[in-house]
Every structure is written in C-alpha cells, then in structure tokens.
Symmetry: C2
Subunit: 335 residues, 2 copies
C-alpha cells in the first residue's frame, strides 16, 4: 500500500483497472465476486487492490446499482440513556454486520418531530431498511417511510398496527402479568412509580395493562408518582420517598423499569424497610444488575437482544409480519 497517488485524490476503480491491466468491469466483477472472471484476472486485481490500497466507494456503487438502495440500515431509537436501546442496537449491529450492512443511527429523544426529521435524513441515504422504535409516529413519518420504498421494521412494541414488519412483545401484557403476580402474592395497596408517560408511550401501555388487571380484581392503584425527566435510580429513590410520605400504608410498588426499581430498593435499604415484608418492589426489563442484587429484583425480562436480531432478520423478508417474542416474569425476591 504505497502512497504514490497525488494526495487529495483517492484511488478509484479505474486506477485499479489500469494497474491490473484489465477493464473496469472486470475489476467490478472480481471485487463483488459477481459474474464470471478468470483466475488470472482475479489475482491481478487482488494484487493491484492491495498494492494501491483501494477502498471501494460505496456511494458510487449504491448509486449505480439497481434499486439504488444502499447496504445501509437506518435506525431511529428514542434514547441512549436507557440500557434497553443499547441492548437493542447490540442485537441489531451483530446481525447486520454479519451481512455487511452498516447501521446509520439517529436518536430522537422521544420526540416524534425529531423522529420525523431523522427519518427524512436517514432516507436520504437510500437505506435498504428503516428500523423504528414503537408503533406511534407522526403521520408525516409514516408517509415518508411508505414513500421511501424501504422495508420498515418497528421494534419493541406489538400493541397496535404497524407499517410493515413489527418485532417485539406486548407491553400491555407485561403490565397485566406484573399486576397478576403482585395480586397472587397477596399485595393489595399497590402504587405505581414511573417517569414521564407522555413521552414513554410503552411505559404508559404497561401501566394501562397493569391497571386493567387490577380492575379485574376489583382494585385500583393505591397512589401513583410520576417523575419528570428520564428514568434513573436517583429518580426512583426520590420518587419512592415521596410516594411513601403520601401513602405510608403501601404494601407494593410497580416501577416503570428496573432503574427506577433499583433506586426504590436503595431507598428501602436506607430507610430500613424490609423488602418484601414491609414493601414489595416490582420492576421491568430484567437488567443484569437486578439479578446481582442481594435480593434479586422481581421483574420482567424482555428479549432485547433477540428483538434486535429478529428485526435484522426481518430485513430480508417481505410483506407485513408481526413477531411477538414474549417476555419472562422473574420471581426474584422483592415481590
């Protein structure tokens, strides 16, 4: 890889063709291993590529290629602050990298307008697929996605109608299962502690499922605390303290997720409240950390990595599909 090119101009396929003494099309065929070429041609091209340090220009390649869609996947997630989404990304990148597909990502901060802007920006790279989070989008987002002529996969949530493919689990069902678990254990004065529901629509669906299961048992929430801002252990800790001050007779708390629940657990440790004797705690997500606690957290484990993998697998498919990957209730020792 000697650099005898005039700096400023990168090595092109034409340069390689000249160096190898073959035509451009032959170089293209060899590089993509597509069409037939002789062994000798293959060797000469490989040698020239190595010698010149050629890196193909995929912008040009995708533009020229038919369908003109790039080996790119456009991904929009609402946040990177919650472990869920990095996990999702992990599943996605692992599966996509294996197929030589690159990931272009955007973070919407739970803002549908930003999501729409990001979708437009991502579509301008003519990705082969668009991976969104959740089922609720601006009408404009949906129109863009439809018009973009790309495969659309909506991840995490299956409670509702999708644009194209949907991979996830039912958040309502998670909420209902969590409520039934608490009810079965005899808890009756149950509060909810969560972060902003306007923003996290899937947390709102879980709560709706939770409340309707309570209602089936003739009960209602015994208090609720909604903290502004993102979920975090600190927020969960402060939230539980506020909740207990208002409703000292609570016997269980359902948290919007494990981060909040962990904060609640810390609050109990600090206040010397026995868990679950005095107060039961129930989370959501099934983080690793929840399992390492002195008392493993009672929670619901979601198949985050698997959602990413399956979503990646969906790209090659066609037509509407819904894949419900379910969830696993972990009994733990806090409820």
């Amino acid at each position: 890889m000697d650099a005898f090119q005039p700096p400023g101009r990168l090595v092109t396929l034409t340069d390689v063709a000249r160096a190898a003494g073959v035509g451009e099309s032959t170089v293209s065929r060899v590089l993509r291993n597509h069409g037939s070429y002789s062994k000798r041609a293959g060797e000469r091209v490989a040698e020239a590529v190595a010698r010149l340090g050629y890196v193909p220009n995929r912008l040009a390649g995708s533009l020229a290629g038919q369908g003109a869609s790039a080996q790119l996947a456009g991904i929009v997630i609402p946040s990177l602050a919650n472990v869920v989404f990095p996990d999702l990304l992990r599943g996605l990148t692992t599966a996509l990298d294996a197929e030589g597909v690159q990931c272009v990502i955007g973070v919407s901060d739970y803002d549908p307008d930003r999501e729409e802007a990001l979708v437009a920006a991502l579509l301008s790279w003519r990705p082969a697929a668009l991976l969104l989070t959740g089922l609720e989008h601006n009408p404009g987002t949906i129109a863009l996605a439809r018009a973009g002529g790309v495969r659309v996969v909506e991840m995490i949530d299956t409670d509702g109608a999708g644009i194209d493919a949907v991979v996830g689990f039912s958040n309502r069902a998670v909420g209902a299962a969590s409520a039934r678990h608490l009810l079965a254990r005899g808890y009756r004065r149950i509060a909810y502690l969560g972060h902003d529901l306007q923003v996290d629509l899937r947390a709102a669906k879980r709560l709706a499922g939770f409340e309707s299961a309570l209602a089936e048992a003739g009960l209602a929430l015994h208090g609720r605390e909604i903290r502004s801002g993102p979920s975090s252990p600190a927020s969960g800790r402060a939230g539980l303290e506020a909740l207990l001050a208002r409703h000292p007779d609570l016997d269980a708390v359902y948290f919007s997720n494990d981060d909040m629940a962990l904060g609640g657990y810390f609050a109990c440790l600090s206040a010397g409240l026995a868990v679950p004797g005095r107060l039961a705690l129930f989370g959501f997500n099934g983080l690793d950390i929840a399992a390492a606690m002195p008392q493993p957290l009672s929670t619901v484990r979601t198949p985050r990595l698997e959602i990413g993998r399956q979503a990646a697998a969906c790209l090659s498919g066609e037509g509407p599909t819904t894949i419900d990957l379910g969830f696993e209730l972990i009994e733990g020792a806090t409820a």
Copy 2:
C-alpha cells in the same frame, strides 16, 4: 404528498425541477440554500418538493459534491454492553445531529481485526470523519485511516500518541489518583478486581497507574482477581467473593469499573461486611447509579458525554490536537 409516481421510481431532483418549472441547478441551489435565487424560485421549488414528497438522494449529492466526502461520521466503539459507550455516542450524536451529520456506527467487540474491517467498511461510505476508541490499533487500521483522507479522532484515552486528534483523559492518571486516595485514607492491603485486561487496554492502563502509585508508597497489590468476560455486577459480586476467600485480610478493593464495584457492594451487603469499615470499595466511571446507592460509591467520574461533544467539535478542526478533559474523583462513602 400524493403518490402519483410510478411506484418503484423515487422522485428525483429532475422531477422537482420539471414540476416547479425551473432548472435543476435552481432546485439544487434552493435546497441547499447555496448560491443566489429569487424568492419566487424558492417558493415554487418548496411547493413542488412538498407536493411530490421529494427526499434528496445524498448518495448522489455526496458523490457529485467536491471533495466527495459525505456528511457522515464513521464511528467505531468496542462495545455497547458497557454504559460508557452509549454515553459517548449520546454526546456524539447530539453534537453531530445539530450539524446535519449522520452517524454510521460499528461495534468491534474489542477485537482489533474487527476494528480494521469496520474502518474499511466505514471508509467506503467516504465519511467526513472517523471516530475511533482508544489509541491502540492494527497497523492496517492506521494505514487505512491515513489513506482515507478523513479527519480521525481517537476518543477516551490520552496516554500515548494519536493519529490525528485525540479527546479523552489519562487512564494512568485516573489509576494513580485512585490509589493515592485509598492510601491517604489509610488502606494498605488493597486488591484489584477487574475484567479481561488483554481486551480492555484502558483498564490495563488504569491498573498500571494504580500500581505505580502504590509502588511509590512502597506497596504492592495485595491480591488481584481477573474475571473473564465483560464487566458486570454479577461478575463483580462473584469476583469479590473469590477474592475474599483467598485474601481474607483485605482492607480495600479497586475495581475496574462501577459495574464491578456495584456487584462487590452487593456481595458485602449479602455477607454483612461493613463498608468501608471492614472493606473499602473504589470504582471507576461515576455512573448515576453509584450516586443513588445507600452509600454513594467512591469512584472517578469520567466526562463521557463531554468527550463525545468535544470529539464532534474536533471534526471541523484541522491538524493534530489533544484535548485532555480530565476527570473528577468522587469521595463517596465506600472508601
């Protein structure tokens, strides 16, 4: 945005020009707000764009534009499982999105060969910049980056020589400061508990700094436990138990990061060991969760978001730069 296009063919700039009754160059000028055009032309183009639902093709745009480098940033991080990297990404995407730069990411799994392959793949999109993690790379990776004619920013670590720009902090200094803190508090029988050092070179640098500070005080590590696999609270918990079984007389443990330390703290809670009276714990990273613990963890907070932001800011710069953003030692209550 009515869809009277023949499906299969996306709207092009030429379509917009025809619909607006102007030339292609005028459309291009209006869309990029570059060069001069009349108010009337602007309106007609805007109307046609909205009516046709035109999404520019940036593949073509970047290919045609001079310099031919795309408004893309190629990012390679070693992992998504550790909070550090999502945080870093968060800083990056926030800053880059504001400038209309999209992020293409790759995850190397701490494997230099995968990193090299990813760099090659990313360069094929002709990004404006390449953002790597750490300073240690394959020779091939460095050659590719150099030949690619892109701005290269290496993040997180400043202990060594960079290719181009470097943004981070000194991991050695973090280790040394941590050691000095423990020494100043009177701890003398100090062990190290970490995950795989072959793989996480920055953790190895912290340990080196830690040990050299111990050596200055005439001390050496009083035991060390290296867990295979990634860092996690579960691993930290099991590791601490193993460590204590071998060295029951330990008075402090330095962990490779907060995840491990949290697991260690849980182990102490479970075993009824007083922290820090019987055993002091010291972490690294300064996670939110560490601050929400009943006893805030003693640790070092790293400027992860800020590294992302500064790295993004570096892209517009030129020439070698090193930005050391330092770190903050948090006294906490566990050491």
